[in-house]
Structures are given as structure tokens and as C-alpha cells.
């Protein structure tokens, strides 16, 4: 199994190696930034549209008035105009950067796909060369080292190391092999060693790659519900400031201090929430991008957002909470039997058992009881030994060796076997088995027939092993207000025991897919938002019902279509990360909104005295930053307003740092950081820019 506890992305690189400001992406984004000046693009963003209109108006005014103005007035108007344009361009640049990061990946892949040729295997075993784009579901292709996998599919033969960095950004090669959970491969990735045969599972045009290209290029990017709500807030604020600035002129006129329109536009642009307005779509795109980097393909931005809201996580026990296989944890001998004796018998009975449980008994006996080198018959090597494999009818496995027989299996099956062989079953057996089951373990009885006497030797205690670090993880989730429910097919007692050990909040035992669906509905009725993972076709209704349904990539097509995310790694533990990414996205939005609004206070203190202290000298006392001149004050505010967008691009692409904290703590932290920070930062920034402007001798 590759679902080791350490496979969460947290332990890997949290981000791909590609640097945030990859020169290639930056170059592309610069071009895009200019292209995005098209009014149709800008109209989608009311805040930036106002800035664009402002820029056009100041440009026209500058040109019209240039003749009648003094040189200093012209320099001022030119600089304000220039930085207004920069404000628009920086916003475009931020969005282009976010898109560019995904696009760069997509472009490379699109190119490779177009060029990729596939070696399709004919039914007779020969191969033919066809373009990758012509492959359909069910085609089998041979891919050798150095070649590119032509489409999404399953490995049906062979094992190979594959470089998936093109999609995941993860440079370490991964192993893909036939059968099991590591069989899924993605088109566009490169085989590094060996040869594999891949059966194509995706229809042309519907591969992961196609979907990713569509998603990251924003071709079908729709505004998410929260983005819409936030946009309403930002538009509302823009209208308020528009009102405040438009009405300021009559008030100024009344006061005998009529204002230059360029200055009024500068004030307006500084006040409207350009920072968050400029970065809003970049934040959204980057959130999707972060999912992609974790190998999770979200079908919509809405799904990413919903994952931040999740209040209940349904987690499959096997593979998510436990390692997935039961392992030997103890040997409990019957009265009169030594533990070593039991260990040897258990060891021998398991040699024929190739299941993970059987293997775990062998290694446990070796490790804890020094059982080593015993042959199959235990009396030295004998050719007469016959392995008795596990069968559904006997529900036992073991060894027959010249009159000596040893069996291991379900307690009742072993009991029956002993009785049939004429032996007595000690009363202790039932108690021990009961005790183990009660503790959440699985008892396996071990018995032998030796010299015609049948007797029970003892019980092997098999146990689910909870992955390392799960308890801490669940504690964090609880602190974040997320309830975890473990879903398992085990009986309630067993389930409860594991749940207690792992520290989940609740348990759904003996769960059928219908139970799961019912549980989700029940949680949702109580106001909860539910996330779950699933892979089987019978999970599909539950996946569809859940607010966030993550389908395993190895799962059936039905499951994948029912969910709203697909995890390419098929790692159910990732659900937790999905929630964190969703939260991070919302936090980033909130933080920058708060920052943006808090910024305005300082801008007023820069601009209002600058506008009016000429006519109303008393207002110069509001110039608490001591800015050098009216012109430099206004310019400094405009420049700060533009530059802060650039300064915040990294944080909007990367997302604010996420910590698993209670909402109250998180609020306090973020308010301090972005609220207070947003209040103070512009005072410092504007003052510094003002110093620079006066040092340069512009004003």
C-alpha cells in the first residue's frame, strides 16, 4: 500500500519547485496585462472598471489641459495619470500571473499531447502508431522508458517509474504498476524506466489534461457564490466612495476651494477598494491552482469554496484512519500452552497465508518470539509438508505434515475443526476471543492435531493500526470546528474501539452506502456541510449528496462524475488538506479585503489636507504624516495604492499562511495582522514615497 501516513502533501513540498515569479510566466503575464485592458474584460470587475475610466479621463484632461498648465502642473497630472494606468495594469498583471502559472503547465502539456504518438496494441498483440488524440476508451498502449503516456488510463501490465511533474509540479518520480491503487496514470506524464501497458480510460477531449486546461485557463471560470457576494460589497463601497468624491466638489465649491478633476479622480481611486478588487480573481484562480498542485482536480471554484465551509468530514476507516490492514499485535496462549509454542504454530500456519494479515503474523513471530528458520513442519525440513491455503469454506489456512496438522482461522471455524478432530475446546477460548473483539481487534484461533490429539493452542490478536499522527490531526480539525465521522463496515464495538484510539468524534459502523447517504442527509438537515471521499459506484449517490465529494482517481467513472473533486493520488487522507485549502482561499480574500478597506484611513489623511490646506490652512493640521507638499502627498497616495497591489501578489497567489486554530483565535490574529496592519502600513508607505518624491526634487 502506498497510502502511508506520511504521504500527505504537508510532508512533501507544499508547493511545486516552480518559483512564484518564474521569468517565463512573468513575461507572459506582462503581455496579458496589457491585453486585458479591453473594456469588455474590465467591465467584469466594477472596481477596476472605475479605475480604468478614471485613467482615461485623466489622460484626456492631461492632453487637453497641457497647453494651459504650468510645467509643474503638467508633471503632476502626468505622474498621476501614469500611476492610475499602472494600477489597472498591476491588477491585470496579478490575474495574468495566477492564470499564467496554470497555463504554463497546460501549454507544455497541450504541446506534448499534440505531438505525442501512441503505440496502440492490436488484439493480435502487434502494435500500430497512432496520434494520441485518436485514442478512445479501452485502447491499450505500450509505453516504454523515455516515452510520454498518451492518455489517462490504468496500467494493466508491468511496473514503471513515472515523472508526473508536468502536471503535479512534483519532480520526484512515482511508481505506477498494474493492479491495486497505483495503476492510474495520467496522459502527458513521462515514463522514466521500464515498459508498461496502459488501458485508456478517458474519452478523447475529456482527459484530466483537457479539464485542467479548461479550468486553469479560466475558459469556464464562473464567479463563485462568495466571490459574487464579495463583489457586491466591493461595488457597494465603490458607489459610496463615488458619492463621497462627486459630492465633495460642491462642498469644495461652497468652501471656495474648487478642486482639480485629476485630484478628485486620484482621491476616488485611492478610496475604492482597488487592492482587493485587483487581486480577487487572482486569489480564486490561485486557490484552484493549489488544489491542482495537491493533485486534486476541483470541478468548480464553488467546490473549493465549499470545502472551506465543511463542518463534518466522513472518513473511511480503512486507508484513511488506519493503515488498511489488520496486523498481529499479540499471541494469547490457552492455559497450559507456552507463548512461544503458540508463536511457532501461528508462524507455521501463516506461511501459506499470503494475505497482509498472514504476513504480519509471520513477521510478528519473528520479531517478538525469535521464531526463525523453522521449516514448514517445524521439525526440520520435510518434503511431506502440504500447505493448506485459505478457502472460503474452511475459513482456515495451515499446514499438514505427516500427521501433524496446524490450522489458523476464524474462531468458530477452528473450534469446529478441533471438535471434529476429537479434541476439547477450552472454555478460555471464547473469553479471549470475546475480549479481543471487544477491544476492536480480530481474534484468530490457532489449533493443532499432534499425534492424534487435537487442541487449541491460543489466539492471535489482529488489530487495525491507526496511522501515526491521526489523533493530532483530528484534534486540529476539532479545534477548527470540524466534526469527524469514521465510516466502516466493522461491527459497532470494533468500530468504536478504533474510533476511540484514533480520536474521531463519531462512528458509522456496519455502514452500507445507503447508511452513508442517510447520514449525510441527516447532517445536512442539522445545518452541517459534509465532505466525503468515495470510489465505488455505490458511493456515487453519497458523493453527489455531499457538499464536497472527493472521488478517488482509481475509482469508478460513476463515482468520479458524482463527486465535485477528483483526487489523482487516490489518497483519502487528502480530504483534510482539501478543507484547509478551501479555508485558506476564504481567509486570503477576507484578509485582503480588510487590509484594503483599512488602508483608506491613511489615504484620507494624506489627500484631504493636501486638497484643502491651500484655501483652509487650518486643515493642514490633519497632515499628520507631515507630507512635503500637496502634490507629493497626492502622488504618494496614488503610487502607494498602485504598488501595494504588486506587493500583495505573492500573498494572493500563495494564500495567507494557514494554521489550524479556533475561529476566535484566527480572527484575533488576522484582524491584528491585516486590520491593524492595513491601518498602519499606508501611513509608513505613503510617508516613505513622499520622502522619495521630495528627495528626487519632483515637487
Amino acid at each position: 500500500m502506498n497510502r502511508s501516513a506520511g504521504s500527505s502533501a504537508r510532508d512533501r513540498h507544499p508547493l511545486p519547485k516552480r518559483s512564484l515569479f518564474d521569468p517565463r510566466i512573468v513575461r507572459g503575464a506582462l503581455v496579458e496585462a496589457v491585453k486585458k485592458l479591453h473594456p469588455r474584460v474590465q467591465a467584469r470587475n466594477p472596481v477596476m472598471f472605475v479605475v480604468l475610466v478614471g485613467s482615461v479621463v485623466t489622460t484626456v484632461l492631461f492632453i487637453v489641459d497641457a497647453g494651459g498648465n504650468t510645467a509643474a502642473e503638467n508633471v503632476f497630472a502626468a505622474l498621476v495619470t501614469l500611476f492610475l494606468w499602472f494600477t489597472v495594469l498591476f491588477a491585470n498583471f496579478a490575474e495574468a500571473m495566477a492564470e499564467g502559472r496554470g497555463k504554463a503547465q497546460a501549454d507544455t502539456l497541450r504541446k506534448t499531447r499534440a505531438e505525442t504518438m501512441a503505440l496502440r496494441r492490436r488484439p493480435d498483440g502487434t502494435v500500430e502508431k497512432v496520434p494520441a488524440t485518436q485514442l478512445t476508451v479501452g485502447d491499450e498502449c505500450v509505453v516504454a522508458a523515455g516515452e510520454i503516456i498518451p492518455g489517462d488510463g490504468d496500467v494493466i501490465e508491468g511496473v514503471a517509474s513515472v515523472d508526473e511533474s508536468a502536471i503535479t509540479g512534483e519532480s520526484a518520480p512515482v511508481i505506477r504498476e498494474s493492479g491495486g491503487d497505483r495503476s492510474a496514470v495520467t496522459g502527458g506524464t513521462r515514463v522514466l524506466s521500464d515498459v508498461i501497458v496502459v488501458r485508456i480510460t478517458a474519452r478523447p477531449g475529456e482527459t484530466f489534461l483537457d479539464r485542467m486546461i479548461a479550468l486553469v485557463e479560466g475558459a469556464e471560470r464562473k464567479k463563485t457564490p462568495n466571490e459574487i457576494a464579495l463583489n457586491i460589497l466591493l461595488s457597494g463601497l465603490t458607489i459610496i466612495f463615488l458619492l463621497a468624491v462627486v459630492t465633495l466638489q460642491p462642498f469644495a465649491f461652497y468652501s471656495g476651494a474648487q478642486q482639480n478633476v485629476v485630484v478628485l479622480i486620484a482621491l476616488l481611486v485611492c478610496l475604492i477598494p482597488t487592492t482587493i478588487g485587483a487581486l480577487l480573481s487572482a486569489i480564486g484562480i490561485a486557490g484552484m491552482d493549489r488544489m491542482v498542485q495537491r493533485n486534486v482536480l476541483a470541478m468548480s471554484g464553488r467546490a473549493v469554496e465549499a470545502s472551506g465551509d465543511v463542518t463534518t468530514l466522513l472518513l473511511d476507516k480503512t486507508g484513511t484512519i488506519t493503515l488498511g490492514d489488520r496486523q498481529a499485535a499479540a499471541f494469547v496462549p490457552m492455559p497450559g500452552v507456552s507463548e512461544d509454542r503458540l508463536a511457532i504454530a501461528a508462524y507455521r500456519s501463516s506461511l501459506a497465508d499470503d494475505t497482509p494479515e498472514g504476513r504480519s503474523i509471520v513477521s510478528y513471530a519473528k520479531a517478538h518470539h525469535g521464531v526463525e528458520g523453522h521449516g514448514v513442519n517445524g521439525h526440520g525440513q520435510g518434503d511431506t509438508a502440504v500447505l493448506v491455503p485459505f478457502s472460503a469454506t474452511t475459513r482456515m489456512s495451515g499446514v499438514d505434515d505427516d500427521g501433524y496438522q496446524v490450522r489458523k482461522g476464524a474462531t468458530d471455524a477452528v473450534q469446529r475443526w478441533v471438535k471434529e478432530s476429537g479434541g476439547e475446546v477450552p472454555g478460555a477460548l471464547a473469553d479471549v476471543a470475546e475480549g479481543i473483539a471487544g477491544a476492536g481487534g480480530t481474534p484468530l484461533a490457532v489449533a493443532e492435531v499432534h499425534d492424534g490429539t487435537a487442541r487449541v493452542l491460543g489466539v492471535v490478536h489482529l488489530k487495525d493500526v491507526v496511522k501515526a499522527g491521526m489523533r493530532e490531526r483530528f484534534d486540529q480539525l476539532r479545534a477548527m470546528g470540524i466534526r469527524t465521522v469514521m465510516v466502516t463496515g466493522d461491527n459497532p464495538r470494533t468500530a468504536r474501539a478504533i474510533a476511540d484510539e484514533a480520536g474521531v468524534d463519531d462512528v458509522l459502523a456496519e455502514a452500507t452506502p445507503e447508511d452513508k447517504l442517510a447520514l449525510i442527509r441527516r447532517e445536512q438537515r442539522g445545518g452541517a456541510l459534509v465532505a466525503m471521499t468515495g470510489d465505488g459506484t455505490n458511493d456515487a449517490p453519497a458523493l453527489a449528496q455531499a457538499d464536497v465529494g472527493v472521488a478517488m482517481n482509481t475509482g469508478t467513472q460513476a463515482a468520479k462524475e458524482a463527486g465535485n473533486m477528483v483526487d489523482l493520488d487516490s489518497n483519502p487522507t487528502k480530504l483534510i488538506e482539501v478543507v484547509e485549502i478551501g479555508k485558506q482561499l476564504l481567509i486570503t480574500r477576507g484578509a485582503l479585503t480588510t487590509f484594503s478597506i483599512a488602508n483608506d484611513v491613511a489615504k484620507y489623511f494624506a489627500i484631504i489636507p493636501a486638497m484643502f490646506s491651500g484655501v483652509l490652512p487650518a486643515l493642514d493640521r490633519l497632515n499628520i504624516m507631515g507630507l512635503a507638499s500637496a502634490e507629493s502627498a497626492i502622488l504618494a497616495a496614488v503610487i502607494f495604492n498602485a504598488l501595494v497591489i504588486v506587493a500583495l501578489i505573492p500573498i494572493s497567489l500563495r494564500g495567507v499562511k494557514f494554521r489550524a486554530l479556533t475561529a476566535a483565535t484566527m480572527l484575533r490574529r488576522n484582524l491584528l495582522l491585516y486590520g491593524l496592519g492595513g491601518l498602519v502600513a499606508p501611513f509608513v508607505g505613503i510617508k516613505l514615497i513622499d520622502i522619495a518624491i521630495s528627495a528626487l526634487g519632483v515637487f
Partner: protein, 570 residues
């Protein structure tokens, strides 16, 4: 400020802390979903009779649209009745002084003013309205317009408290219960206390006195106290006399002054506690109370200190404004000696924080900062503690706005009381937030450059701009107090103020009801550690911040050219 001034302030807070939770508990029972309420034996028969006369089925709950329709219908009928009464009073009885009918523009303004709970008085005091208009029109609206505000609040709280429901209650029932069970009994008690202090209550005409020096002085009569009690309790503010609660017959002693200040504040503050009880989480109510108290307290302290600080210009004239045992000191122009600057400042903050609008000093005469604070307090949107009912509505809107901005920072779709705030809610919230500044700034801006409007000013320079700003801040927030130097009886002002009052009333009430209608359908997400707490001091501070910053950013430029520059140039 004198030590006694501080004590007076602290005692008022203590009295509020004791009485507001008690009244809040009672109000929660009046509007709550439980069947029984205190006083049923007295009130229920009266109410049943009213329902029968008006053919209202009290059991029939209304969706928000029907609720809003009923409310608008009632306000419309009230407006028409009041308008008609004024226009016809010349030929109607109970008009002993034979006052003529009121001019149409003034009648429109007054009808709007009283049905919107503003009580802006564009008319020349005692000399315009007949007894019939006063009693049968204005006094009635003092009760019912307040009850309408409380009904909207009840509907909003139900919208937040109920889950997956569709109806918000019955407007007629809320109107009736609010009037009969809350306003009438309280008014009766307050009126008697005021009378004991010297506030008049009679049906006499003028008493002619011959003064000590032999001059003739008219001593007015009339049913003052009964109207003054409801004008304070219902945050109406329309005075019986022109000079409102500065008039000795409206507010004769320091005791009546204290009681009236309390009466202005008590219902709005009690609403916070009623809210907490009705949503089933009393901590939320206490938080809302805390927010209201903090803003009102800060503004009160500010106003008391600035007025006690005096007017520096008088120092040069050899006028002593110092505080001594023998004089209150401070800036006493437009203030009564018995109240002094402390009680006047406290009143100014209270009347502007509540949309009450009655005055016990002349705000136009206050120091620039004191007048500016009063103006800013209205511009906060009347939330500290705001008008009866509508104040709580405004504060809840602000809380929702704060939740939306900051709530994202905890990584969840913002929710208030477990209900998610999404695009539909934000639209209504922004509509609410926009309406008041839009109408205020637009009309004020035009008035600042329109020659006809400028003719109404009593002062020029920054103080004149303050008069304009104050007037529209008052109208758009349904406050009704004034920088009384402004002559608001002109056609321009009666019309624009009338529109501002209508916008400030109905463009806020309708989004609130729509919001309630949207919220009532939602499920309440159970609170968990992942929920942003909305009962903590931190959240309280956040809401205060949002209130101050939103108003500050909207009005700072205008204020800078009015009270701020006037203050800085003192």
C-alpha cells in the same frame, strides 16, 4: 467637566444597566413566539377588540412581502390622513386660535416627518398646528410610527431566530402589541413623573401674566407631558413647544431632564436584550448592548467634554467659562443654566444616537466639535442605540457587514447566528448601507451650491455647511433634530427633506424585511469552534470599527469642510 457631571453620567449608565434587561425581557415576551406574555389579562381583551374592529386575523402569519405591504399600506394611510388633516384644519373643529390650513409643501413635509418617526419640524412651532392636528394627527403618529419601527425589528429577529420557516409574524399584531403593551403603559408612567416635576398637562389656553416689571407675558398651556413622554420613549423627538426639551414647560428640572434622557435611551437599549432572548442566545444580546453602549458612551463623553471645555473665542472677550462651585462653566450659548454643559452634551449624544431628535440645548450653537460629534453620531446610521426597533435593525445590519468582511478571515462562508451571509443578503445589506449616504450627500451637495437653498442658512462659512449637513443627516436618519438656524420651511427644503426622510425610512425598512425574509428560510448552522464568535468583545470592537470606518470614510471629506475645519480654526 465637573465631578457631578461624571457621576450623573455613570448613574445613568447604571440605571440603564438595571432597567434595560428587565424591559428587554418583557419586550421579548411581547414579540416572542410563546403564547403567553405578562399582562395578558389586561391587554388581550383590548387587543382582541382591536383585531375584531379591523378584521385582522391575529393567528395568520405573513411572509415578508405581505408584512412589508401591510407596513407600507399603514404608513401610506397615516401619511394621507395627516396630510389631509393639516390641509383642512382651517375648517375643522378644535381650532380655537383659528389657525389657517397648513401650506401644501409644509404639510407634505410634516406628514412624512411624523409617519417616518423623524419628527423634523419644518413648521413654526406652536403657531401652526391646531389642537385637532396635534392630538388626532401628530400625537397618534408618535405612538404608531414608533410601533412600526418595533414591528420591523420583531420581524427581523424572527427572521434570524426561526429556521426553515417562511413567515415573519403578523404586522397588525406587532403594531397593536407594541403600542398597547409597551408604548402606552410606559408613556403613562413617564408622563406622570414629568408632571410632578413641573411639565404642564392641561387643556388651558394661554395664561396672561403681568411680570414683576409690569410687562405682559403669555404662559402657554396644553397637554404637554402626555406628548413629551411618548416623544422621548418612541424616539420621535417632536417637541410640544418650539424649543423642545429646552423649554421649561417640557423639561423643568434636572430630575425631569434625567428621566427624559433615560426615556430616550431605554427602549432602544432594551431591544438588545430582547434580541438576545428571542434568538435564544442571551450573549448575543449582551454583545449588541455592549456595542451600542460603547459608541453612545464614547460620543457622550466627547460631547460633554467639548461643551464643558467652552468656546476659546470667548476667552478673549473676558468671559469666564471655568468650572467652579458657583457656575457650571463651559459654553452656555444655547444652553440652560439648570442643565449646564454636561447634561446638555449627554443629551445631544443621546438624542442623535437614537434618532430621537429632541433637544435640551441648541445644537447649532454648540462648539464645532460638539455639533460635529452630534452630526457624526447620526451619520453612523443611528445604531447607538438607534431608534426604537430601527436602531437594532441598523446595528444588526452593521454586524452582518462586519461578519461578512471579517468572517472570511476565519476561513468559512460568513454566517451570523448560524445563518450564512451570501450574495442575496449582501445585496440587501449594501442597499441599506447605501441609501442613507446617497440621499444625504446628494441633497447636501446640491444645497451647498444652490442659491435658493443657501438663502436658508443662518450662518456662513464652515458653520453654514454644517447646518446643511446636519439637516440632511437628521432627515436621512429620521432623527429630527436640527441645527435650528437653518430655515427649513422653504419649498426646497420641505421637499428634499421630505424625500430624504422617506428614503431614510422605507429604503431601510424594506431591505431589512427582505433580509428577514431571506434569513428565515435558512437553516442555522450549529455553532462550533470553527464559527466566528459574535458575542465577544473582539467582535464588538469589530462592529464598532465597521460602523465608524464606513461612516468615517463616507463622510470625512464633507465633515472636514464643516465642523472639522471650524474646530481647527478656533
Amino acid at each position: 467637566m465637573s465631578g457631578a457631571g461624571w457621576v450623573q453620567f455613570v448613574v445613568l449608565i447604571i440605571v440603564l444597566l438595571v432597567t434595560a434587561p428587565l424591559l428587554g425581557r418583557y419586550i421579548a415576551r411581547v414579540y416572542g413566539d410563546e403564547k403567553k406574555a405578562p399582562g395578558d389579562r389586561v391587554f388581550l381583551p383590548v387587543e382582541r377588540l382591536i383585531y375584531r374592529i379591523c378584521r385582522v386575523d391575529p393567528e395568520r402569519e405573513q411572509r415578508w412581502t405581505r408584512y412589508a405591504l401591510s407596513l407600507i399600506g399603514f404608513s401610506l394611510v397615516s401619511f394621507l390622513a395627516l396630510f389631509g388633516l393639516q390641509r383642512l384644519q382651517g375648517s375643522l373643529p378644535l381650532n380655537p386660535v383659528e389657525l389657517p390650513s397648513v401650506a401644501p409643501n409644509v404639510a407634505f413635509n410634516v406628514a412624512v416627518s411624523f409617519t417616518t418617526n423623524t419628527n423634523w419640524q419644518a413648521y413654526g412651532g406652536e403657531s401652526t398646528m391646531s389642537h385637532l392636528t396635534q392630538m388626532g394627527g401628530l400625537a397618534v403618529q408618535n405612538f404608531v410610527s414608533a410601533a412600526v419601527g418595533m414591528a420591523v425589528m420583531a420581524a427581523l429577529i424572527r427572521g434570524l431566530a426561526r429556521r426553515r420557516a417562511s413567515t415573519l409574524g403578523n404586522f397588525w399584531v406587532d403594531l397593536t402589541r407594541g403600542t398597547v403593551r409597551i408604548l402606552l403603559p410606559l408613556s403613562f408612567l413617564v408622563a406622570l413623573v414629568l408632571i410632578s416635576q413641573g411639565v404642564i398637562q392641561n387643556f388651558n389656553g394661554h395664561t396672561v401674566a403681568t411680570t414683576v416689571e409690569g410687562a405682559r407675558q403669555l404662559i402657554p398651556g396644553g397637554p404637554g407631558a402626555s406628548q413629551i413622554a411618548i416623544k422621548q420613549l418612541g424616539t420621535n423627538g417632536g417637541g410640544f413647544f418650539d424649543m423642545n426639551s429646552a423649554h421649561p414647560f417640557e423639561n423643568s428640572t434636572v430630575v425631569s431632564n434625567f428621566v427624559e434622557t433615560w426615556a430616550i435611551l431605554i427602549i432602544p437599549f432594551a431591544m438588545a436584550f430582547a434580541f438576545g432572548r428571542m434568538v435564544g442566545d442571551r450573549r448575543q444580546g449582551r454583545a449588541v448592548f455592549g456595542i451600542m453602549l460603547a459608541v453612545w458612551g464614547a460620543m457622550s463623553i466627547g460631547a460633554m467634554l467639548t461643551e464643558s471645555g467652552g468656546n476659546p473665542r470667548l476667552d478673549d472677550l473676558g468671559v469666564s467659562q471655568t468650572i467652579t462651585e458657583d457656575q457650571s462653566g463651559g459654553y452656555l450659548e444655547g444652553k440652560e443654566v439648570r442643565f449646564g454643559p454636561a447634561a446638555s452634551g449627554l443629551w445631544a449624544a443621546s438624542t442623535t444616537g437614537t434618532s430621537n431628535g429632541s433637544v435640551n440645548s441648541m445644537h447649532d450653537s454648540a462648539t464645532p466639535l460638539g455639533g460635529g460629534l452630534a452630526m457624526a453620531h447620526m451619520m453612523f446610521g443611528e445604531v447607538s442605540p438607534g431608534g426604537v426597533g430601527v436602531g437594532l435593525n441598523g446595528l444588526l445590519i452593521m454586524a452582518i457587514l462586519a461578519v461578512f468582511i471579517a468572517g472570511l478571515m476565519v476561513g468559512r462562508t460568513p454566517e451570523y447566528l448560524g445563518k450564512k451571509i451570501q450574495a442575496a443578503e449582501m445585496k440587501l445589506v449594501m442597499l441599506y448601507v447605501l441609501a442613507m449616504p446617497a440621499v444625504l450627500l446628494t441633497f447636501a451637495a446640491i444645497s451647498a451650491v444652490y442659491g435658493n437653498a443657501l438663502g436658508s442658512l443662518n450662518n456662513d462659512g464652515p458653520h453654514g455647511l454644517s447646518e446643511i449637513l446636519y439637516g440632511f443627516a437628521s432627515a436621512a436618519n429620521n432623527n429630527g433634530s436640527a441645527f435650528a438656524g437653518l430655515d427649513s420651511s422653504t419649498t426646497w427644503y420641505t421637499t428634499t427633506q421630505g424625500i430624504a426622510m422617506l428614503v431614510g425610512r422605507f429604503l431601510l425598512i424594506i431591505p431589512v424585511l427582505a433580509l428577514a425574509g431571506s434569513m428565515v428560510r435558512k437553516e442555522r448552522v450549529p455553532a462550533s469552534p470553527g464559527t466566528m464568535p459574535t458575542h465577544t468583545p473582539l467582535f464588538g470592537g469589530l462592529v464598532v470599527g465597521v460602523v465608524v470606518i464606513v461612516a468615517g470614510l463616507t463622510f470625512f471629506p464633507a465633515l472636514a469642510l464643516g465642523p472639522i475645519v471650524e474646530h481647527l480654526s478656533l
